[in-house]
Symmetry: C2
Subunit: 315 residues, 2 copies
């Protein structure tokens, strides 16, 4: 299940998740328009169910299963928004969700996943330990693996936000999303060019986790980057297929420093009045870092999530 | 200009401000519904122009002036959201705004008022000094005084949000707003009962500034309360006419402690993902303090503003 989705897959996903996912609002800010010189249309996925766009992909995966598969449940390894989203999505279908979480994961996030009805499986904080534990749960339960970004159904689900955004804000020239594993960026690219091949596409990546930029520059996937960034949602290395989609759709990825991202986060809080997590602010940071790319254009800006620990703000 | 507005005044105000004010969204939260046992419809005036409902009243006042009055400008004394709103509203008509601000006012707020194009006039931090300076500016310029809450045009403007809310969320049983000077609560009460006389109306007031509750209990305006609350937007004593509207429309005012309000503020940030100022959180605090009043009902909850100093959060 790691081929790239087609535009039709994304349209199917939109119909599939419509009963469960929110059509999130698009918000504007005169102050941020003035600051950037562009017309910014913020797609507020912080207001999506579960507080992040991840619900779209997880929900599409859960409702793509046939009844027999569904009865065995779903499993993933993620202590962040994808784990929570899969738990919530499984609950909409009344099936089991297993979430493998590494030692040291944030307690509040784990509690949210449990509140959503999922079973937690703890493991050591290495990629190998996560994958081993996941395989173990699969063997024991027959649960379907739903990978956070390399899964076709997940990518298709994430792309559905573009169908909404281009209806809500017609005539956009540009879209920009953060880039982590690339599930969002690839789904968005396929959806965007399925509707309007002339749309310019940008990604925003932390300087301390710039594997997508390096991979696009080298023409092959760079896996040696050791993520060092405050953007906890963007530490994953971009997936092989996700990278292919970025290349095919000519997504230009802009890097931003953590300081720029934290400053942009404060702007989104104070001007747009939206609680967004730090990873979400990379897009505004990128626009403000390279304003000439966006000036005078109508820009769709994806705000990915709003799950924040209010006791540990990054400023 | 301190009579209560009629329902027709409020409908006129809605037409008058429509070209300038935002129709703010109504947001929901499954988590907050579950917590309260009620169906909560949050009217997000933190997303209004200037970041607070105050723009409605100020804008109605500015555009109610005839050309000759308008040419002489407007004046008010407020270092908070009303001062900023009047500055923004005056700018929409291209007229002068004078804002009298007391010593010790927050620098960021003053800068915002100046950015909006108003002239600041500094005075000592007493009510008498503010009124004297205001009168001085009036004499010197002929500017029209626009009082933050006792002004008919301001009350009518604030009431316009109800016309939107009842269209956006049909079939509400209850409305609740914070109560400070009472400009919002009175405008909302008149608008609400103009549309549906069966609507139950509530107010929320900080325990440390409970002059409205005391005034309603005593049957006469109590002016001896010395405000002591973190809710900087709710320290004004309720106005005479505003109090009359609360009484006539049987608005029940619930008091809440600052600790309850700060906890509710964190819930609005973490669950609704909205940056709201502390005064705005009194309404959710009141619902959670007296859940039996709201359980099972469809409740319109007015979130008044989102102008917050991110460097000085109250937790």
């Amino acid at each position: 299940m790691d081929a790239l989705p087609s535009f039709d897959d994304i349209r199917d996903a939109a119909a599939r998740i419509a009963p469960y996912a929110s059509v999130t609002p698009v918000l504007r800010s005169a102050a941020l328009d003035a600051l950037s010189g562009a017309s910014l249309h913020f797609k507020c996925e912080n207001l999506q169910r579960g507080g992040a766009f991840k619900f779209r992909g997880a929900c599409n995966a859960v409702w793509s299963l046939d009844d027999e598969q569904a009865a065995r449940g779903v499993v993933t390894h993620s202590s962040g928004n994808h784990g929570n989203a899969l738990a919530l999505a499984a609950a909409t279908r009344g099936i089991a969700a297993h979430v493998v979480v590494p030692e040291g994961a944030v307690r509040a996030k784990l509690e949210a996943i449990e509140r959503a009805g999922a079973t937690l499986h703890r493991c050591a904080a290495t990629q190998a330990a996560r994958e081993a534990k996941c395989a173990e749960v699969q063997r024991a339960t027959g649960a379907e693996l739903v990978h956070p970004y390399a899964d076709t159904r997940v990518m298709a689900g994430q792309g559905t936000l573009v169908l909404e955004l281009l209806q809500q804000s017609p005539g956009l020239d540009v879209l920009i999303t953060p880039v982590g594993g690339g599930g969002l960026a690839s789904g968005v690219a396929i959806a965007a060019h399925g509707i309007d091949p002339a749309l310019a596409l940008f990604g925003a990546e932390p300087l301390g986790a710039d594997d997508a930029v390096q991979s696009l520059a080298h023409g092959t996937r760079v896996t040696t980057v050791v993520p060092d960034t405050v953007c906890d949602g963007l530490r994953a290395l971009v997936g092989e297929r996700n990278l292919e989609a970025l290349r095919t759709h000519r997504v230009e990825v802009i890097t931003v420093s953590d300081a720029e991202t934290v400053a942009a986060m404060q702007l989104l809080w104070s001007e747009l009045k939206q609680v967004v997590e730090v990873s979400s602010a990379t897009v505004l940071a990128a626009i403000l870092r390279q304003p000439q790319r966006f000036a005078g254009r109508r820009v769709g800006v994806v705000l990915t999530g709003g799950n924040v620990d209010l006791q540990a703000l990054p400023w």
